[in-house]
């Protein structure tokens, strides 16, 4: 409770500082006033383009979900494979280890050339970027699943398959969930970058458009909107996680 109050106050202080800065700048004119809009001006800018906002959110979320879904399916599948079989690990892991350190955005131009400027390039870009973090977490979770629990399952008569699906996989759920959460974050991160470069709709594109029109207030609004959507998405995922992993003993508070 006390944490919540401090957190809220911190957020309010941040807003107030921004507002104050914008007001001071407007009167002193270090930079032109339009460069640092006040919070109400940003809201007003959002109100001006209110017909566009739902469509932008919808198309952006669509891209994130499509890309994320591909990444989640592939990441969890391959992570399970290489986490549970030494043979699969030797085949899959080296390739991914080589690709992983390359910033995914470095592939964006290649993806645009390969898949054009349409939806495919953006969705695949998102899938590609989110994949690695999901794969790595799943792999680690499955690979280092509590050997004691596996032994217990085997001693109770479980086959290797039953032990994996009944015990190994569920015990890796916390790590898999961490991977999915980070994967969504990654998907969002790449979404905006992809939309800045190649799109004619979406939340990221709206920022780019505002730049051409030199509407800093709209750019602020676009950024805030993405932040809000991301925040809500994370909150939903957190909630789902807390429900699904309610069996997990809570870590001691530090």
């Amino acid at each position: 409770m006390r944490d919540m109050i401090i957190r809220t106050l911190s957020l309010l202080a941040f807003l107030a500082t921004w507002w104050l800065l914008a007001l001071v700048n407007a009167s002193v004119q270090w930079v032109p006033a339009v460069m640092i809009p006040t919070p109400p001006q940003v809201l007003e800018a959002g109100w001006d383009i209110r017909e566009l906002v739902p469509g932008d959110i919808a198309i952006s979320l669509m891209r994130v979900f499509e890309g994320f879904l591909i990444a989640a399916v592939l990441g969890v599948l391959l992570g399970c494979l290489s986490g549970s079989s030494r043979f699969a690990e030797n085949i899959i892991d080296p390739v991914l280890e080589v690709l992983r350190p390359i910033p995914p955005l470095a592939f964006l131009p290649i993806f645009i050339i390969w898949f054009g400027l349409g939806e495919a390039s953006k969705v695949l870009m998102i899938a590609f970027s989110a994949f690695f973090i999901i794969y790595v977490n799943t792999y680690q979770g499955v690979r280092y699943a509590d050997p004691l629990l596996m032994r217990a399952a085997l001693s109770l008569g479980a086959s290797k398959r039953q032990a994996f699906f009944g015990i190994g996989l569920p015990s890796a759920m916390p790590e898999i969930f961490t991977g999915l959460r980070l994967g969504i974050g990654m998907a969002f991160f790449v979404l905006v970058a992809a939309e800045l470069i190649a799109a004619d709709s979406g939340m990221g594109f709206r920022i780019q458009e505002a730049r051409w029109q030199f509407r800093v207030d709209r750019m602020f609004f676009g950024a805030a909107l993405i932040g809000m959507i991301g925040f809500i998405l994370f909150a939903v995922l957190k909630f789902a996680e807390s429900k699904l992993l309610a069996w997990k003993p809570r870590r001691e508070a530090h």
Partner: protein
């Protein structure tokens, strides 16, 4: 008195690493356990007593010799031997009921029969009230009782227990020792119990196996001809305890 032999370890040894440069953890252990018998194994730490249990459980293959259960050679873990570990090893995302039901479930026991067994076992360990609780909601002693019930749910021929009470506080341990004896007397399951507690070994066992320091061999087997319930403060108990501790102590001096 039933004296049918169930577990036979014949010249069993365990080596780690390659031949020549490897380490011998266990050397030529031969041990017969009778049906319904309660056998404890004590030994200095690192003597390989837990490794021996792992071989009986089928987690670790023997390097030499062989182990049979009712005449059949062991190959890997199986539901004819229930294992209780030092840590409770309950599946944390399953309720108490689901944990106990896991063994019969993977062994395709009919659902009705599973329910019946679970109810009986919950009754036996006195945790009926907690059937739908999660492991994290139980105390250490309760978790270990559930672990025992889970291991018994397959109606195994043997219960293998690897220092199951070592992580508990003294009072809880004492309570669980009595509980285990009660469960053993009710189910008549053969028990092989690893411990480093001399008192515990004498309190529980029909026979105490004392192992040597590395490489682990059987130093001596001490029968405990005392009626149950046993009282640690009687001269008879003290005499057996001294026998066990003398055997152990001479081992520690040699190291």
């Amino acid at each position: 008195m039933n004296t049918k032999t169930t577990l036979v370890a014949d010249n069993v040894s365990l080596r780690y690493g390659s031949k020549g440069s490897g380490v011998t953890a266990i050397e030529n252990i031969s041990l017969d356990v009778n049906e319904g018998e309660f056998v404890t194994i004590v030994g200095p730490s690192g003597c390989g007593k837990s490794s021996f249990l792992s071989m009986v459980a089928g987690f670790v293959p023997v390097s030499g010799g062989r182990i049979t259960l009712d005449g059949k050679p062991l190959s890997g873990p199986g539901s004819d031997r229930g294992v209780v570990f030092q840590e409770h090893a309950l599946f944390p995302w399953m309720s108490v009921r689901q944990n106990i039901a896991f063994g019969p479930r993977v062994n395709k026991v009919p659902a009705r029969e599973i329910e019946k067994r679970v109810d009986e076992l919950l009754e036996l360990i006195g945790l009926t009230r907690f059937r739908d609780s999660w492991p994290k909601e139980l105390s250490g002693g309760m978790k270990q009782r559930v672990a025992i019930a889970r291991a018994l749910a397959n109606r195994p021929k043997m219960l293998l227990m690897d220092e199951p009470f070592a992580a508990l506080d003294a009072q809880t341990r004492r309570f669980l020792q009595d509980e285990l004896l009660r469960i053993w007397q009710t189910t008549k399951t053969t028990i092989l119990f690893i411990t480093h507690g001399i008192d515990e070994s004498v309190l529980l066992a029909d026979r105490v196996v004392v192992m040597t320091a590395r490489p682990g061999r059987i130093k001596t087997i001490i029968p405990v001809p005392l009626p149950r319930p046993r009282d640690e403060n009687t001269p008879e108990f003290t005499r057996v305890r001294k026998q066990v501790s003398d055997a152990l102590l001479s081992e520690l001096k040699m190291v």
